[in-house]
């Protein structure tokens, strides 16, 4: 081989290396076996082993299908899906929460599931409210996700410390603030409550506001956002007044991990999160911890629907039937019950509601009953708006910090969120007439 040829070959080899990085098949057939790729949208040491067990069970029952598990952490799942859509390398099936559903359907990445669900043995067994949240999240254009787990806001509290102080779980916000004041001892670095000021604060403060105001919709009949309703503003003011009075100073930039760390370190007595942290708090504090649902305001209470987790089929998949079979398996009574028992969330499969672990689960069942009750006023957050993440995260989070620091009023904060929602809703409706 001459020198020129050799160098050219080297250059081509380098090019080959570059292109090799770019190809990734999503699925394959070999010897009558179908391989489907499944993305876990919230991988981690607690959840990954559960999926590995379920996948092994599924493959045993369906020897012709192999499931390739890909774990993606919840923090980066939106990015990964967006990149996969842009490069045509989406999986066959993936975990998708309703928070992400609108973004994926807007990019036309998902396959509608209405027909498959209608023909499935699961039909009628998936909780109706869950399906409604899912359909609302994709803008009411159909079912693009089969729900698997429901979630609900919960306030974890130190049952032992409450008992010592002669307190019981608060039923109203005023009782909660009174309890927080009673349990605060700054000299000992002990605080009654903690406010989420960092990542995720937007949704959290809105769910608190609607629990207090009891308003039932995000938009009034004229399409105007209800976020800046005086009753919502009143609660945001009350929350802001807790900052540094019954909560640590660091709250202003704390997100869930720091809040939970404070709770586990005996520094805060109540922490508002959701059922997603059941396992964490129970492991750390055992019987010392209990939970209650968000308390009511003077005019009753509403529930701002939490994201519902579930599974979606991707349009580009070549094995949708096999992928759907896997989804049906995951949502079957046994698998769905096993999954939710271990993550402490509300099963979507209503057959699991009779299972013993669920009937004796305390807060999980309480939250599930509330979520499934026809009398619960369920407020659907407008996650179908393309600007939802921008409004509730990029813009609202720093603004809420300004409220805590006294640099903006609660009313101005609520108005800025409301105005952004109203405008986004008008744009959305104009486009979807």
């Amino acid at each position: 081989m001459s020198r020129t040829l050799r160098t050219t070959a080297a250059a081509l080899a380098a090019l080959g290396l570059l292109t090799a990085c770019g190809s990734s098949g999503s699925s394959s057939d070999s010897g009558g076996k179908t391989t489907i790729t499944f993305w876990d949208n919230n991988a981690g040491p607690a959840r990954t082993p559960l999926y590995q067990k379920l996948i092994a069970d599924f493959e045993k029952a369906n020897p012709t299908i192999t499931v390739k598990y890909v774990g993606v952490t919840s923090a980066e799942v939106a990015e990964k899906y967006n990149t996969a859509i842009a490069s045509n390398s989406t999986p066959d099936v993936g975990g998708v929460t309703t928070a992400l559903l609108a973004s994926l359907t807007a990019q036309k990445a998902l396959d509608p599931l209405d027909e498959r669900y209608a023909k499935s043995a699961l039909n009628g067994k998936i909780a109706a409210n869950f399906l409604e949240i899912s359909k609302s999240a994709s803008g009411g254009k159909g079912l693009f996700q089969l729900p698997s787990s429901g979630n609900q806001d919960v306030i974890w509290y130190r049952a032992d410390k409450f008992k010592e102080a002669g307190l019981s779980a608060p039923k109203t916000w005023d009782e909660l603030f009174a309890a927080a004041a009673k349990l605060t001892d700054k000299g000992k670095n002990q605080y009654g409550f903690t406010i989420r000021g960092g990542a995720g604060s937007g949704f959290q403060v809105l769910s608190e506001a609607y629990a207090y105001s009891g308003l039932t919709t995000m938009f009034d009949a004229a399409g105007k956002s209800t976020v800046d309703d005086p009753k919502n503003v009143a609660l945001i003011e009350k929350i802001a007044a807790q900052y540094k009075a019954t909560t640590p100073e660091a709250d202003v930039s704390n997100a869930y991990p720091q809040m939970l760390a404070q709770f586990q370190a005996n520094q805060v007595m109540m922490v508002h999160h959701n059922l997603g942290s059941t396992r964490d708090v129970k492991t750390a504090l055992g019987d010392k911890v209990a939970g209650f649902l968000l308390p009511a305001g003077p005019d009753g209470t509403s529930v701002l629907a939490n994201p519902v987790d579930g599974f979606s089929l991707f349009k580009n998949s070549k094995h949708k039937d096999a992928a759907w079979k896997f989804v049906e398996f995951l949502d079957s009574h046994e698998a769905n019950s096993y999954w939710n028992q271990n993550v402490g969330q509300i099963p979507a499969n209503t057959e699991a509601y009779a299972d013993e672990w669920y009937t004796t689960s305390g807060i999980t069942k309480q939250a599930g009953d509330s979520l499934n009750s026809p009398t619960t006023k369920l407020v659907q957050p407008p996650v179908y708006l393309p600007q939802y993440s921008k409004i509730t995260k990029t813009d609202a989070e720093p603004n809420f910090q300004k409220v805590l620091l006294g640099k903006t009023s609660a009313a101005d904060f609520a108005k800025s969120v409301a105005d952004a929602f109203t405008k986004a809703q008008a744009d959305y409706q104009a486009k979807n007439k």
């Binding site: 020129t4 990019q107 670095n189 640590p248 100073e249 921008k390 720093p398």
Partner: protein
Amino acid sequence: MALAAPPPARGHGLRRALAPYALISPTLLLLATFLLFPVGSVLYYALQHHVVNEPYDDAFVGLANFRQMFGDEQFWSSLAFSAKWVFAEVMLQLLLGLALALIVNETFVGRAVARALVFSPWAVSGVLTTSIWMLLYNPATGVFHYLAELGVGNAGTSVLGNPDTVFSAAVVAELWRGVPFFAILILADLQSVPKELYEAASMDGAGRVRTFLHVTLPHLRDAIVLATLLRSVWEFNNVDLLYTLTNGGPAGATTSLPLYVAQLARKSYDFGYGSALTTAAFVILLFCSVLYLRLSKFGREK
């Protein structure tokens, strides 16, 4: 091989002409893939409306993104923060780096250990630096907790949660990592100062201060200009430390321009506007760098 017949003349000439291109082609290819393509795509998207979850609105919008930028309060406040951050970091790093370099350039017992210690923070990654400082600043377990126990300050003091102290706290964390860079570069240059100059200065009766001002400092000029320029660009583009330490908070008090761009891309999925801001940052950096090099007469003979 030595006995093989020489190749025909014509082919030989063509091959000779092509060989250099073949040799540099991998480099060109890599440059095109990893430099030209990304830069080009940023310029392209800067002129587009491109929001990932509003694909139906994607279109060429000309300079609309740049017009939006001029009216964007957050752009100006993040740019102002970046300017303040770069100035504070580079000045303090230069002064402390210079001082450390002068100290470890002296002869004393344990100099090798002292040098290693001075340089060690440079080897720590940005995110790890953050983790260390977050533990130090943690109101429940960090230094302020212990100070409060000794009666200094209040329990629960959170320097990262207070907009009045967060800037200094972030500056100190970044200083810890940045000072060694200056110390290394300046020390290397210090060692190349000819001994004769110092001897001559001492013959002329110059003291330590005058020797430093008239011999050492002029010799270090190019190293200082280069180090400050490099560091300014790096500090301007610093995302890792601020992103993990404060995430731009509280209330946007530490949101630098690159961090604002990162938030636009990660949370709002607005890549069009984010690209426009990146382009603006690129132009600002380019302009400042050229101006700085001109004003400092870098590389010119004295």
